[in-house]
Amino acid sequence: MHNEVTRGRLLGIKEINELVGDVPPNYVILLEGPPGTGKTSFALATVYRNVVERGCKAVYVVLNEDCRKLVSVGRSIGYDLGSLNNSVDIIECPTVSDEYLVDMITEEVSKRILSGYNLVVIDSVTPILKVLGTYSKKRAWLHTVVYKIASAHEVMVILIADTLLKDDPDISLLEYLADVVIEMNYNPKSVFPRWLRIKKFRTRPALPTPIYFTLSSDGIKPINLVSKELVRKVRRRRKEIVIDSPIVKKLLGPSLKPGTQVGIVIKEPATGLGYFHQYLVLKLALEALTRGVRVGIAYYGSSRKHVLKEEEVASKLLRDKLTIVQVDFTGRQIPHHLVKDIDKPEDIDVLIVTGYEKLTEFYGIEEVNRMIATYHETDSSLGVITFRIYRISPHTPQAPSSIYSMSDVVIEVTLNEERGCFNLRVVKGAHARRPITILDTELEPAVMELRRKLEELVGFEVLPRGV
């Protein structure tokens, strides 16, 4: 544990501090949002980080729930307050109906501040404001007691407020008073159900763009913010994948540089990628075996997808270098992060994701568009080479525009009925100035060559002939 109490304070998500810097130690922070949006989790994360990384002592006032429940919630999301020895004091306030509540909280908090506590959380401030009743009393308590004590004693105060009504005057008052206002939201119909935004940050620019996040046993993880430190670390070891087949070069260009994003749209009545899929899996298996590239393959869908023979073989050959996951999102509320958690995204060098059309059926095209655009951004910055495969069907007749607008290379797959195979048409890519169409069967020699190389490497036949 560090003894750095004189430095600024931290927020619950490291990546936000990278954007806005440390929080001055005497700031009042408001976490506002409807119940169940992650305010308490964010506060717990903030307490945990400040105690562990900045040597703070925190007092956590609980008004709405049992303190044992708070500790167990913290533990379930990776912030075990019980492990912080005597650095966190939790005060559970009984529900009382008048201003005794205010006196009681003020007394307990003041005593601890005088004995060296420098981080206060009031979870939540809503019942206190209800007890105070009039606007002038609320303002007097908030300003003369809360705000002043934070300033005078360099105490960071976190006020948690439930937004139960639209245009709640209490929220307006709190927003007016607080130095930092963080709004939190939850929408179960969205692919990114949890998000927050920084509405106000005194002396610094606000961050009005939503920051999507997940809550899991690993804590609060942002989806669309990537730590600069992590980017620097992973970018150093990323590898370029050189394409040695002239015919595949026409599709993907001479090489796949770290961060390259490839969008593949399968247009009905085409059903798959044919030899191209086999080429991809075998090529990546070879890269994994010879150069240590780590591969992830993920399927979105409600039922077990048939795994290709090549994928089966690759998973046997590669074991820890290849992860295949099936994301049955229909039974869960947060499907998106499961693919990211295929392992840590930073540990995956190449990712193949299919089944976006299933998500479209479930969430609608706009949500999937947002999801693809968001992951494009994070995968590019982390240097993950990603193949996103979207299958157009009668239920999802339109591909998300972000596949076209944000990918570096876009390939459309159609059925060539005359030849009984698939047409692969490159519609976007720096290597293809104008659209190029090839037949998937033209890739057969490249697939065979890869299979031969793999067999030489592993010393046995990786797939029976004719598969």
């Binding site: 201003e99 205010v102 006196d103 909280i105 003020t106 007394e107 003041s110 005593k111 005088l114 105070l132 009393k137 007097a140 308590w141 003369t144 007691v145 002043k148 004590i149 300033s151 005078a152």
Partner: protein, 96 residues
């Protein structure tokens, strides 16, 4: 600090401290509790006793507890004036 408080009022004895506390709590909920904690930990006495006995010290307590704030003490005195004035009047009446 220029406070327009008569000497007599600063040394009032037997004033209803609870009434003063209630009046001040009405004006700023929680404030007296906070100042009491501070005064008791540093000076071993309640803030109301300090306020009624030594305005200079009361001002010091406020500054230390809440930062620089001249107007807060003036405001407090304005709030408690009706209470202390009534006490003075009562004393005057009883003298008569």
């Amino acid at each position: 600090m220029s406070l327009s408080l008569s000497k007599e009022r600063g040394k009032l004895k037997g004033v209803d401290k609870e009434l003063i506390r209630r009046e001040l709590s009405k004006a700023v909920p929680g404030l007296i509790t906070l100042l009491d904690i501070y005064a008791e930990s540093k000076y071993g006495t309640s803030f109301i006793d300090i306020l009624l006995g030594d305005l200079g010290l009361a001002h010091e307590v406020i500054i230390k507890a809440l930062g620089h704030d001249d107007l807060l003490l003036k405001t407090m005195l304005r709030v408690i004036t009706p209470v202390t004035s009534k006490k003075l009047i009562d004393e005057d009446i009883s003298k008569d």
